[in-house]
């Protein structure tokens, strides 16, 4: 018995580390490739020539590339993501100030999608071919196809502009948890809406397949209660395909979160990145992108851990 499959997880961890290193290399390469004078690119047109020279020396931009790479690596490993060239703050500070908002939004969206999608999918599986099932099929395709920022804008239009039900912009920080929660609703829904239908369909398909499996027939042959069969047993079997796809979809979710934040004027990585791009604040941009990649990769690793917790056959490999 290998518990949670230590060998499997170590393998995945190693793969993850390799990918993260590669991503860092890619990001580093991007900043190196920046066309034109590196200092001008990093500091923008505002800096004076003396400052630029001083900056170059300080940042070691005149060093050969391999040296810079190693320095970059070292910095990242110690959590130093560089310095914001505009404000002078540490990039890591800037990012950690806004990261919680993005993470909360993404987590809320995932939570919503799962909490609504899974029961919906289970229900549709018990009534295949019914009109509810067909409507669900239709709507879910429609919703997952539409980009989340478009949904965000439409929700904005309907609920805030026309109906004036929910507050629109910002996070309501400082107004208490209730207010923050209210402002989280629309963005989270915008992100989640496509996924609710998608997950429901995935769960439905997986459930239908699982319920037709011989081992479910064994459970029925032994008279196990229907409720137990569906929720204690079949659901676990059926969770596997949706989990895999959710893992892949987190990237889209993160990308969507960035845009949805901008639509609703929420602080978060989206705003940070956009502002950074507009003023050519490369360290911030680099740091933010790196953090997003880390989030994505960490989320996928989490999904893999869940996988191996659920399916003992995976732990072998």
């Amino acid at each position: 018995m290998t518990g949670l499959g230590v060998r499997f997880l170590l393998g995945r961890l190693l793969q993850t580390v390799l990918v993260v290193l590669g991503a860092m290399a890619l990001l580093f390469a991007l900043t190196v490739i920046v066309p034109g004078d590196p200092a001008a690119a990093l500091l923008g047109p505002q800096a004076s020539p003396q400052y630029a020279k001083q900056f170059v020396a300080e940042m070691g931009l005149d060093q050969p590339i391999p040296v810079r790479f190693v320095r970059f690596f070292g910095h990242v490993l110690t959590g130093d993501l560089g310095t914001d060239v505009v404000s002078g703050r540490k990039v890591s500070a800037a990012i950690s100030a806004v990261l919680p908002y993005t993470v909360t939004l993404t987590a809320a969206a995932i939570g919503l999608a799962v909490l609504l999608g899974v029961p919906l999918g289970c229900w549709a599986a018990t009534r295949p071919g019914s009109w509810v099932d067909n409507i669900l099929a239709g709507i879910s395709v429609a919703l997952i196809a539409i980009p989340s920022f478009v949904v965000a804008i439409l929700l904005l239009l309907v609920f805030s502009v026309w109906l004036d039900w929910l507050p629109v912009l910002g996070t309501g920080r400082g107004d208490g948890v209730g207010e923050a929660a209210r402002r989280l609703v629309l963005p989270a829904v915008a992100l989640a809406v496509g996924w609710i239908g998608f997950i429901a369909r995935l769960v439905r398909t997986a459930m239908l397949e699982v319920l037709a499996e011989p081992y479910i027939r064994t459970a029925r042959a032994y008279g196990l209660p229907s409720l137990d069969i569906v929720f204690k047993y079949a659901l676990r079997n059926a969770a596997i395909p949706p989990l895999a796809i959710l893992g892949l979809g987190i990237g889209r979710l993160l990308g969507g979160a960035v845009l949805v934040e901008i639509v609703f004027g929420r602080p978060g990585l989206g705003r940070l990145v956009l502002d950074a791009i507009n003023v050519r604040n490369y360290p911030v941009l680099q740091g933010a992108v790196l953090v997003v990649v880390l989030l994505f990769v960490a989320a996928n690793l989490l999904v893999d851990i869940l996988y191996s917790a659920i399916d003992p056959r995976i732990r072998r490999g």
């Binding site: 590669g22 196809a145 920022f149 987190i250 960035v258 990649v293």
Partner: protein
């Protein structure tokens, strides 16, 4: 093709795709106005016989802008997917052919690119190289390469075990010949299906980037740009944002339905 039209979803998807394609191809001829023509006195016009979908904040006819937006969306999709298809296929086939470390290196490369959410990678690259139409197409293509590459590689691996390739090799056929006449026709199928299924993603990324101003450059206007314009002037009129959102939504919906119907039609198991 007939099979695609059999399901209501497939038929709807095909209709929408056809609509977008026609708009994209014939925009300069069927658009009632020049999309860049200003008529500031006529801004935020509602639905009217003169302006079927109203006007934007500078009085430009929205219908015309939307039609040209279709052209932009299709142009970007077609080029990005074409590039990704070629590059991905070459890399995928190479990976399968090389085996060992070469293959592993290519796969790790795929993983690294795939570790970036598409939009975020696009943002990073655009930030570095500056916005530009060519850049846009290039970045989007890069984000797609891993998927095409993996599918191509998987297809080749399945085929490699088939004896007819071995026979060709023994007969002395050059690698190029094998690639062109034997491999490509056989792996083309799934790749084409994948290509059609990627169109909605490309449209979405392009629209998203244009929305934040990092997509296509003026005077070209993509639906994303139009949505942003409408969003900025929500207090003045809700019509522009509505119609441009609708256009984007219908296009992505149409291509998604079409792509899925294509995949189902091509699936031998479904027959």
């Amino acid at each position: 093709m007939a099979r695609i039209l059999q399901t209501p979803a497939g038929a709807l998807g095909t209709a929408l795709v056809a609509l977008v394609a026609i708009a994209a191809l014939f925009a300069p001829w069927i658009a009632p106005y020049d999309p860049d023509q200003l008529a500031v006195l006529d801004r935020f016009a509602g639905l009217s016989p003169a302006h079927w979908l109203g006007t934007d904040q500078l009085g430009r006819d929205l219908l015309s802008r939307l039609l040209h937006g279709a052209t932009v969306a299709m142009a970007v999709s077609a080029s990005a997917i074409a590039i990704a298809l070629v590059a991905g296929t070459l890399l995928g086939v190479a990976a399968a052919a090389l085996g060992g470390w070469g293959e592993r290196a290519i796969l790790v490369l795929f993983d690294i690119v795939a570790a970036f959410p598409s939009l975020v990678l696009a943002l990073a690259v655009v930030a570095v190289f500056g916005p530009g139409n060519g850049h846009l197409v290039g970045i989007v293509a890069i984000t797609l390469v891993p998927q095409f590459g993996r599918v191509a590689r998987a297809q080749v691996l399945t085929l490699q075990s088939l004896p007819f390739l071995e026979a060709e090799r023994i007969l002395g056929a050059s690698p190029w010949r094998i690639l062109r006449y034997h491999l490509l026709p056989n792996i083309a199928g799934p790749l084409i299906v994948l290509a059609s299924m990627e169109v909605p993603s490309v449209i979405t990324i392009e629209a998203g980037l244009s929305f934040i101003g990092l997509g296509v450059r003026p005077p070209l206007a993509s639906w994303g740009t139009l949505i942003y314009d409408g969003y900025s002037y929500l207090s003045d009129s809700t019509l522009p944002v509505l119609v441009s959102s609708l256009a984007l939504a219908l296009a992505t919906l149409g291509f998604t339905l079409f792509g899925e119907a294509l995949r189902d039609a091509a699936d031998p198991r479904a027959r």
